[in-house]
Symmetry: C2
Subunit: 190 residues, 2 copies
DNA sequence: CTACGTCGTAACGGTTGCGTTCCGGCGTGC
DNA sequence: GCACGCCGGAACGCAACCGTTACGACGTAG
């Protein structure tokens, strides 16, 4: 019976508030103000701040990103890099993710939710990316998907979300090149 | 005339409080309680929370990490990896850095301070690491220190501070191997 | 031994947010 | 057309923290 447009307005307000002030300073009252709704409408849906944020964030984060399959490892990698770059440059990602990550270190419930939403998904991407490459014979059978994903997403996340330095097309190209070289060389070395 | 032991207790309390509740929820009163001092003692030293945190954090972060010079690029790299791993596993680093990074996205003063404390230092490490390798002829003259540092610290930070997955010696070894391959291959490719 | 400055404690008024409750209004389903 | 349930708004008592002030105790410098 809860009105859908109200729920939507609240979800939206939570994401914006989260990006603007962070979880620590997010208040129910501010969310209600921003959404243009009464506090009552919020407490009718969730029982407290933690539950509300977790439900909304995991819903947003859980939306599956289409896994790449361009036909070649180089193509898959390049596509993944571009998708990740775009995603990490989004305001939600670059502000909310570090904030919730820091929060997760203190709150097991947040940690658990984020792991489900982010890490399992990331692992699926890694498995598919490397699996496809192995099937095509582009990487050896013992290539480590976990390590591969760390090597791909790590530098991008570091640069975009931590150092907050802009990423040029040229930079992205060179990074892709280096990572490709690493994964191929790392395999032949073993 | 300010008593040094009091100042020290406050600095300590701020770091602990920062790690435990984050910047957003850090309160002067809690710091005073934890340090076992009066609020007066704090306000006598800093005028507000932001100034206090910035001064203390930049002091801690500014302590120079000795730059590696083991005589070979492989050795330098391995040493750097180990130092970074250890540093990122420290409670202060793994909790405070993501928190302040998220905060920096909203507050230019924090961003500026952190860039000075972290990024410039990181750049110096990269320049020295790559510079030494170039001088030894282990990397070509046009090797990009910036890219190199991203590739080295990115995966570690991702794994330790974001994914919060433990890093085994074996994993570290393989990562070092891959990064070495990447930097050498990337050079020969150009 | 005196005077000064720092110390902790306690209190101040003011703000913000919590989670709850009551209200009158409005729209929908029956 | 009537009752029900959601809606926003307003207020509640409670708690935390802000930044400031006043106070008496202590310790040290001169």
């Amino acid at each position: 019976m809860l009105r859908g447009d109200i729920t939507k307005a609240i979800r939206n307000a939570v994401m914006n508030e989260l990006a603007q002030v962070g979880y620590g300073r997010l208040s129910i009252e501010a969310v209600a103000r921003r959404a243009g709704v009464g506090k009552t409408a919020i407490y009718r849906r969730w029982s407290n701040k933690l539950e509300m944020v977790l439900e909304i964030v995991s819903d947003v984060a859980g939306r599956a990103v289409p896994l790449p399959d361009t036909g070649s490892f180089a193509g898959d990698l390049q596509l993944l890099m571009m998708i990740a770059t775009k995603a990490l440059q989004h305001r939600y990602a670059s502000q909310i993710i570090p904030d919730l990550m820091a929060e997760a270190a203190r709150n097991p419930k947040i940690a658990e939710t984020l792991q489900k939403a982010l890490r399992s998904h990331q692992q699926a991407v890694g498995d598919k990316l490397v699996g496809q490459a192995v099937a095509r014979g582009e990487l050896p059978a013992d290539a480590d998907p976990e390590l591969a994903v760390d090597l791909i997403l790590g530098p991008l996340y570091w640069r975009l979300a931590v150092a907050r330095t802009p990423v040029s097309d040229d930079y992205l190209e060179r990074l892709t090149e280096l990572v490709t070289a690493a994964l191929q060389a790392g395999s032949s070395a073993r």
